[in-house]
């Protein structure tokens, strides 16, 4: 009786359109894209007007990024999962190649003290954004291929550790500590979910914590960011400046915000208002209600990823499950860090808010990632339906 009902439900879900896409993912992503576009315009209009004379400058580019991202997403979600599983190592090599290229003089573009971009015509490509997705695809495949040896430390863990080490070093050369942290935490989570022994896992965690601490202490600017984060009001005009401005934006928002377009903090007080600190502007203009809406949309996206992973596992599709877990972790880590930074809970990192912040590479990577999720969900759904 109960089993029959479940089958019925599954059939109804899958059957009402075999070619339909997961509405939870679609809705939350489109809502985030729409809200993001509105906020990018609002946050950048003054700066754009001042820099280019055209208030919609960033909005137009952002719209182009969205179109590009949705195009990539629709291609990815229609692709076959097995191709991705096989292509994992190539993605890894492509990612490493891009990270090496960005460091080559004459190719990498140097902005504000870091070399993170490759110039492609009018747009700058930020390889580290794509590398995040590539690494997730690679690690998901790795966990499937190495299932047998995973419980052994040397063949199972050391290999992935080497991969992380190479990518980490390349990212630190830029330097891009934020992305490195996101990749490391995501891989850690994937290893944990992928069945690595708890003892091994703890060794890796300890190594990661020690490494991060060393990197922080070794670099004055990172150290300053950390101390600035711990007490932003101690030096609100230098090290704590950005954070203090972000906190003020939140405080000004109250329950319902000062109204769309009415942010004061975006008027040159808050640096990177339309990129890393888009949430602060949203908090000021749309208030707590707006912030809770954004958190809820991301919660839907992330929890849905893990639900899809769970379903994939139940359907016996291990790679699909690892991929969905990886992507869920990637979104979770990136959004938690970005929002945490915006609210002064974490030291400042140059990390974007997926789907919302201005930035083409980030947009492309996020759209590809959600495309993969949509694909996984559809394949798993059709597969399990077919099995019944």
């Amino acid at each position: 009786m109960i089993a029959e009902a479940a089958v019925h439900k599954q059939r109804r879900e899958a059957g009402h359109a075999a070619d339909a896409w997961d509405m939870w993912l679609m809705t939350s992503v489109l809502a985030l894209l729409g809200l993001g576009a509105v906020m990018v315009y609002s946050a950048s209009v003054s700066a754009a007007e001042r820099a280019t004379g055209n208030g919609a400058y960033y909005l137009m580019r952002h719209a182009a990024h969205i179109v590009l991202g949705l195009l990539a997403m629709s291609l990815v979600m229609r692709s076959r999962l097995q191709h991705w599983e096989r292509a994992g190592p190539y993605f890894l090599l492509t990612g490493i190649a891009l990270l090496v290229m960005v460091l080559l003089p004459g190719i990498g573009v140097h902005i504000n003290g870091s070399t993170r971009w490759i110039r492609l015509g009018t747009i700058n490509l930020q390889p580290s954004e794509l590398v995040k997705v590539f690494v997730v695809v690679y690690v998901a495949g790795y966990l499937v291929r190495k299932q047998a040896v995973l419980p052994n430390f040397v063949p199972g863990i050391l290999m992935i550790g080497l991969v992380i080490g190479v990518i980490g070093l390349l990212l630190l050369r830029q330097p891009d500590l934020g992305t490195m942290v996101v990749i490391c935490l995501t891989i850690l989570g994937m290893l944990f979910l992928g069945g690595v022994r708890l003892g091994h896992f703890l060794v890796i965690v300890a190594a990661g914590v020690a490494g991060t601490a060393m990197l922080t202490l070794a670099s004055p600017y990172r150290f300053e960011r950390v101390t600035g984060f711990l007490n932003p009001w101690a030096d609100p005009f230098n090290s704590g400046f950005q954070l203090v401005q972000a906190l003020i934006a939140f405080g000004r928002g109250e329950w319902f915000g000062v109204g769309l377009g009415a942010s004061v903090q975006k008027l040159f007080y808050l640096p990177a208002a339309h990129t890393d600190f888009i949430l602060a502007v949203l908090a000021e203009e749309l208030g707590l209600v707006g912030v809770l809406l954004v958190i809820a949309l991301f919660a839907v996206l992330i929890l849905r990823s893990f639900l899809i992973a769970r379903r994939a596992e139940q359907a016996g599709h291990v790679f699909a499950a690892r991929l969905a877990q990886g992507i869920g972790l990637l979104f979770a880590v990136q959004t938690l860090i970005n929002m945490g930074v915006n609210m002064g809970m974490l030291p400042t990192k140059g990390l974007t808010l997926p789907f919302m912040s201005y930035g083409g590479s980030s947009m492309l990577a996020s759209c590809i990632a959600v495309g993969l999720l949509l694909m996984v969900e559809r394949e798993v759904r059709l597969h399990s339906w077919a099995r019944h």
Binding site: G251, V264, R310
Partner: protein, 572 residues
């Protein structure tokens, strides 16, 4: 079995990760509530400290208008370029265009910015032309903005430079009427609380703290046309006689209003580069002179008031010299026996001395004090002198003698002009006013009507044929007046070859409307007697003023003094 375990994520691990993610999101929610609801007040206060500023809005200073409504000082809106020092300091790359446009030195700018580093406001250039202002804004240099201010413009320029005075760049009165009536003219800037972006631009006006109050217009007593006339004649005279300086004052007899007050050399208040303190002293009120013979009418008035003398009393001035103690007082030549009127007409020092010695000290003192010597005229002009007149207890015979013909007393030209209004006004002294009033002036009687009439009649004769002041005659109008030629007091002794040439007079004599005092300091060419130098200026200015004021002629033939009965005169 172990392989099987690895293909599936354990429920424990799945839920652990989910729990971590959900608690992370939960923490964000808690933090958001904390920031946006619980600490919003503190954070907003911090924000307000950064965004909210009190901005002042300048209002326009009142105009100064002449009695006919012609503007003498007006304010025009201009822009001043200012900077937010910390912001501009960071935009070092843009300084070049800015310094070129504003004609600043790069190093000066750097120094200024360093000095104002902790401030939020610094002027770069005050009062720039609209063209420059537009180009500065077009540069869009970070931290640079405009402020509306008002620049004072004086349409009459040098013509009324001294009397109007000028304001400083901050629109505060510095000299002349601009200073004297600053309180009335001054605009009170309004204050608003405004929201500023980080570059200092005003984004929004939050609340109005006080409204700007524009200054009130000031209608002054001057008549720009008479002022110009006096200015032109003084300028000519100073040039022609190579004089050091000259003054002229024209008063309305009935109201005491100053119709013209001119100093030469003048200065143009529109040209700030010209402003040197030596130039803009309004000598007509700040400097004292010895009035010389122009004081004699008051000696005579005191004598007539005493009853001991009548206009026809005879005084023997032969041989034109008189010794008082160890000093000798001389006339220009021996006039022999003169009537009291003749003493005025011929300006006999010996006659005046004998008359003064014939009346009591106190009578002379009271009359001189009565017509306002030794006290302020009430003009309110900055730096006005009260002059010096020693009290009678300290007068020796020689002091009485010299006082009778205007030495040993220091007065301002304005005081002299005011004293003559008593003669012109049938014995009633009116206060001097620089504001255009409604004419309801309360005068003070300082001599009998008959005395005033008699003195005026004598002064008429002194301008007629045979008198010292014939050059002061005005066609078709009768004139009453007195010349003066004063040895200048230089380093405590009287200089032999340096004079002040004076003329003080009233026109028309039969129905006085205007009093005018002219003084020319140290003429070097074309004579030095008051009758030669000052009287012609009086004549020319008065001739013009009579026509300008539509005063009907009272002397159809050139200067045939007519005797008019006292009863026919209009009382003041």
């Amino acid at each position: 079995m172990s392989n099987r375990a690895q293909t599936k994520t354990s429920s424990f691990r799945h839920w652990t990760v989910l729990l971590l993610v959900v608690s992370g999101l939960g923490l964000l929610v808690v933090r958001a509530v904390y920031l946006q609801v619980l600490s919003s007040e503190y954070l907003q206060a911090q924000g307000n400290a950064r965004h909210l500023r009190v901005a002042e809005y300048n209002a326009v200073r009142g105009m100064i208008l002449d009695r006919n409504g012609v503007p003498l000082a007006i304010s025009t809106p201009v822009d001043s370029v200012w900077a937010h020092p910390p912001t501009l300091m960071q935009a070092g790359g843009r300084w070049g265009q800015l310094t070129a446009l504003l004609d600043l030195d790069r190093r000066d700018l750097s120094d200024m910015l360093a000095r104002h580093a902790a401030r939020e406001f610094m002027y770069l250039k005050r009062h720039v032309t609209p063209e420059i202002a537009k180009r500065v804004m077009a540069l869009q240099v970070p931290g640079v903005a405009l402020q509306r201010e008002y620049r004072r413009y004086y349409p009459a320029g040098a013509v009324a430079g001294h009397i109007i005075g000028f304001t400083n760049i901050d629109d505060q009165g510095q000299e002349g009427l601009e200073l004297a009536y600053d309180e009335r003219l001054r605009a009170i800037p309004g204050k608003k609380r405004v929201l500023k972006d980080r570059l200092g631009n005003i984004v929004e006006s939050v609340e109005s703290l006080s409204l700007p109050i524009p200054g009130k217009d000031l209608v002054v007593s001057l008549d720009r046309r008479i002022q110009y006339l006096a200015y032109r004649e003084l300028k000519r005279a100073v040039a022609a006689h190579k004089a050091r300086a000259a003054w002229a004052i024209v008063l309305d007899v009935r109201t005491g209003e100053v119709l013209a007050m001119v100093n030469e050399p003048g200065f143009n208040p529109n040209n700030r580069a010209d402003l040197r303190s030596a130039l803009f002293r309004n000598r007509a009120v700040t400097d004292v002179i010895e009035p010389g013979s122009t004081l004699k009418p008051f000696t005579i008035a005191a004598a007539l008031e005493s009853g001991k003398y009548t206009p026809d009393s005879l005084i023997d001035t032969a041989p034109g010299v008189i010794r008082i103690g160890r000093k000798t007082i001389k006339d220009v030549r021996n006039h022999g026996r003169l009537s009291v009127a003749g003493v005025i007409k011929k300006s006999s020092n010996v006659g005046a001395t004998k008359i003064a010695l014939g009346i009591s000290k106190n009578r002379l003192w009271n009359l001189l004090r009565g017509v306002g010597f030794g006290e302020t005229t009430g003009s309110g002009l900055p730096g006005e002198s009260v002059g010096i007149i020693n009290p009678p207890e300290r007068w020796a015979a020689i002091d009485r003698a010299t006082l009778s013909f205007g030495y040993g007393i220091s007065i301002t030209p304005l005081q002299l002009a005011r004293a003559y209004t008593a003669i012109a006004n049938d014995g009633v002294l009116v206060p001097v006013s620089l504001l255009h009033g409604d004419g309801g002036v309360q005068g003070e009687r300082v001599m009998a009507k008959a005395t005033a009439l008699q003195v005026r009649r004598m002064l008429e004769m002194s301008v007629s044929g045979g008198g010292t002041g014939t050059a002061a005659q005005v066609n078709h109008y009768s004139v009453a007046g007195k010349t003066g030629t004063v040895h200048k007091l230089i380093n405590g002794s009287y200089a032999q070859d340096n004079y002040v040439s004076l003329f003080a007079g009233v026109a028309p004599a039969s129905r006085p409307r205007l009093v005018m005092v002219v003084a020319v300091d140290d003429p070097k060419r074309g004579g030095y007697f008051g009758g030669q130098i000052a009287a012609p200026i009086f004549s020319k200015v008065m001739a013009g003023a009579m026509r300008l004021l539509n005063i009907s002629p009272d002397a159809p033939q050139p200067q045939q003094p007519t005797i008019v009965k006292a009863s026919e005169r209009r009382a003041t």
